[in-house]
Symmetry: C2
Subunit: 485 residues, 2 copies
């Protein structure tokens, strides 16, 4: 399966903690995750190693969504401009970022068509046709799709590209209470999949009033943390209330016989961006690391030479492992050392180094990437060893990540302390006047003086005792602030 | 999972054989496969029942492709116009069908960007960067993607839409012989997946010189047959030779130390169109039918009433079936009769009708859709019954389809007979002067007089004895002609 010859067998030239930005650029290239040389600015070619992982990520998310009653759709990529214009704050927010299709063959269109930046205005016009009565609610839909944003900010591979791969879930409910329960379910789904399976820690914040999704009444977003102390916004879920329902006239006949507007929520986990966090959080100075459940492949068998004896043995082991794990045999022309480095860079959970000595002794030299630990096992123990790594490696990565995340949340009580803590790469917790519109001025002060954004409040209401770190007025909330990209 | 109330519980109003066109339109709507009311012409909203099936189809194709050494990529949806223009016959063929992106936000682009109609010109410029030596060959890549064609022909849901969902595989080889072997492998893959798993009969034809893919030297395409006697072009595979390699300068250093151009092949199975054939070939006058392996869901449990006793029993059975099959419990407010019709329309392979009498007797009333057969089994036999249906239903559908397909290939020896046989809905086999450029005039005569196209020659060289059915000259090939859309 893995036949390509590495063009550059050298490892990473910098440590992840020392120079994260260079580390990330290098790993994208050297582990062959994505190629930036495609000739449209801000677009990336996703290479096999990232696609295989992202496909598994899709599978986990879709499984949980379907279990919770969401049904899959494929909507058209194109949305008429008039749809986007229907909801005022939505169009205002997204229009500067839209790619426009204006021609088909030699025809110039009367109305421009947007490459979907997100699909609220596509889904809800169909909700209008599909939803009739309370029996149809909750209506829980999603699609796996790629979306397009003509970003003006600098793009970064996986983290922020002009085309990215995501899931967007759109739901309609009979009451605001049901809608809020959906928002909570979305947050729980994020935890079940992104934390428990992918091993990524995050905090779900309710975003301040000035930082909501365009068209949303309440926005909740999961911030993950990169090694450089910057947060990355991962899945967000939004209470859109009835605004979109009103402009697209999505009504249902309730049990009391009355026609009512539905309450809408939407939720968007972006696989390509979550992949960026998987790389950034789990990787180390040798390369990638993956939880078993989303590893592109599980086991690499490396014959020390390409003699028939060793290659045949590799095939025999692959056969034996069968469906339990996805196995790659590396019979390329590289030296053993190059092969070892290659598979450490690629983050394969288990490597089996196959030499003649081990063959004779019926032993195997195995290397597990989560612990970077090499050991010898009896050949007959192989399956139980793989079972053990399968069970442990995700847990080990998660534990390590959780600890780092926890250690980097720091309390401060004034702007000077905030500067220092942020400079050391932390997420900072402080008391703050208000996340309603009233607080926006204080947030601007923080952004200007410290270069960080107010990410919002924790979901668990936290006790407030003192004063706003900026204006000194009585604090209304505990907020978190952090650098982003 | 299935909570929606049917808006129209009436079944299909026409028979599939009697009026296929109406039957197909009705089933798309009544089985909730796709919604044509989206407000961009020629675009379709794919609804859950088609998406679930297509996702399984993707899984089967990707599994086989990966097993045969193809690796997955995600390429950008946008291709610069200058890329498309590089290969003369390619641009000529595709330009009239391209949707053009000309603006991003308020910026007007200097160069137009195509929504990919197909991705040769995206992949091969990257092949230029990735392929260096014979060690890199064969280079076998594919992507799962949606593509866009500004069709001027009438669109039909799934069969021909302006956006469709496919896989495109692109491979580079060291020699023409290796490339032709790839073409053969692609045809074998098509058989393994589309025939053996999806149950669809087809013939792979080598297309005549005047009907090749834009830019190809040889084109091989699988024609499936609809009940109205029209053929549908399913996956095609193309020998592009070295034309694209030359314009994109894709060279490799061969074992002899010389730089050579690679030989390129491409292959494209379109899930949305294959889905159209699954619907058309397997469906009957009650609705859809599916082979188990691609059925959106496998079992529907229908409690005769929504009493706690029966619903609890349904849940218990679902639990018992576990991972063996995907189970839906229909506790909607419909009458039992409506529910039965609904699940027959949806083509669920097994329905379990749950009444109090059966509950008491520890029996189950089961209905299998492949044979439209209802029977009573002991509850304890459920798993072996499901096992049996799983093993048999795909085979039954395939056998039925193969027989119909075989019976509709008819030999003719003149144009009069051809007219008659085509009129009766057959694929017609006849002797013909030539599928090189020389034969194009005779093909035009057939198209004008009979309204059919020459589909090409069978892969197995067939013995030629007589004269061309049109011009009377010595025949060079046995060809097949058929109506298409």
């Amino acid at each position: 399966m893995e036949k390509k010859v590495e063009k550059d067998n050298k490892g990473l030239t910098v440590g992840k903690k020392k120079d994260f930005s260079t580390w990330f650029s290098e790993i994208v290239q050297k582990a062959e995750l994505g190629d930036l040389r495609y000739n449209v600015k801000g677009f990336l070619v996703f290479q096999p190693w990232s696609v295989l992982c992202m496909e598994k990520m899709y599978k986990h998310f879709e499984k949980v969504l379907q279990k919770k009653g969401h049904e899959p759709y494929f909507f058209p990529t194109l949305i008429p401009e008039s749809n986007l214009k229907k909801e005022a704050s939505h169009v205002q927010g997204f229009t500067p970022e839209v790619f426009w299709v204006t021609q088909g063959g030699d025809d110039v269109f009367e109305e421009r068509l947007a490459l979907r930046p997100t699909s609220e205005t596509a889904f809800y016009q169909m909700f209008n046709l599909w939803i009739r009565s309370y029996n149809d609610l909750p209506f829980k839909a999603y699609q796996r799709a790629n979306v397009f944003r003509y970003e003006t900010k600098a793009t970064r591979p996986f983290l922020r590209s002009r085309e990215f791969h995501w899931i967007e879930a759109h739901c309609a409910h009979a009451t605001e209470g049901d809608a809020m329960k959906q928002v909570e379910e979305d947050m729980e789904t994020t935890k079940e999949v992104m934390h428990d399976i992918f091993g990524l820690p995050f905090i779900f914040f309710e975003r301040p009033a000035w930082d909501r999704f365009h068209g949303a009444h309440r926005t909740f977003a999961a911030d993950a943390l990169n090694p450089d102390g910057r947060v990355v916004q991962q899945p967000s879920t939004h209470l859109l209330k009835q605004d979109f329902a009103k402009v697209f006239d999505v009504k249902f006949k309730d049990k009391d016989g009355k026609d009512k507007f539905v309450w809408i929520t939407c939720y968007g986990p972006a696989m390509s961006r979550i992949f960026a966090s998987v790389v950034s959080v789990h990787g180390d100075d040798k390369g990638l690391r993956f939880p078993w459940e989303i590893a592109p492949r599980h086991v690499a068998i490396v014959p020390i030479d390409n003699s028939k004896e060793l290659v045949d043995k590799a095939k025999e082991l692959k056969e034996k492992i069968g469906d339990f794990a996805e196995v790659v045999i590396d019979s390329s022309n590289k030296t053993p050392g190059e092969k070892f480095n290659h598979w450490e860079m690629k983050g394969i959970p288990v490597r089996i180094d196959l030499g003649k000595k081990e063959l004779k002794e019926k032993k195997l030299c195995v290397f597990r990437r989560d612990l970077n630990k090499k050991e010898f096992i009896a050949e007959k123990e192989l399956m139980s060893y793989l079972e053990k790594v399968k069970n442990e490696c995700g847990k080990n990565l998660l534990k390590e990540a959780d600890q780092i995340f926890k250690d980097r949340i720091v309390n401060v009580s004034n702007v000077r302390e905030m500067k220092k803590a942020v400079g050391a790469g932390n997420i900072v917790r402080c008391e703050f006047c208000s996340i309603d519109r009233d607080g926006e001025r204080c947030a601007e002060v923080i952004e200007k003086e410290v270069g960080v954004k107010v990410r919002g409040t924790n979901l668990k209401k936290e006790a407030v005792k003192g004063k706003c770190v900026v204006c000194g007025k009585k604090a209304g909330n505990v907020v978190y602030v952090a650098r982003d990209y």
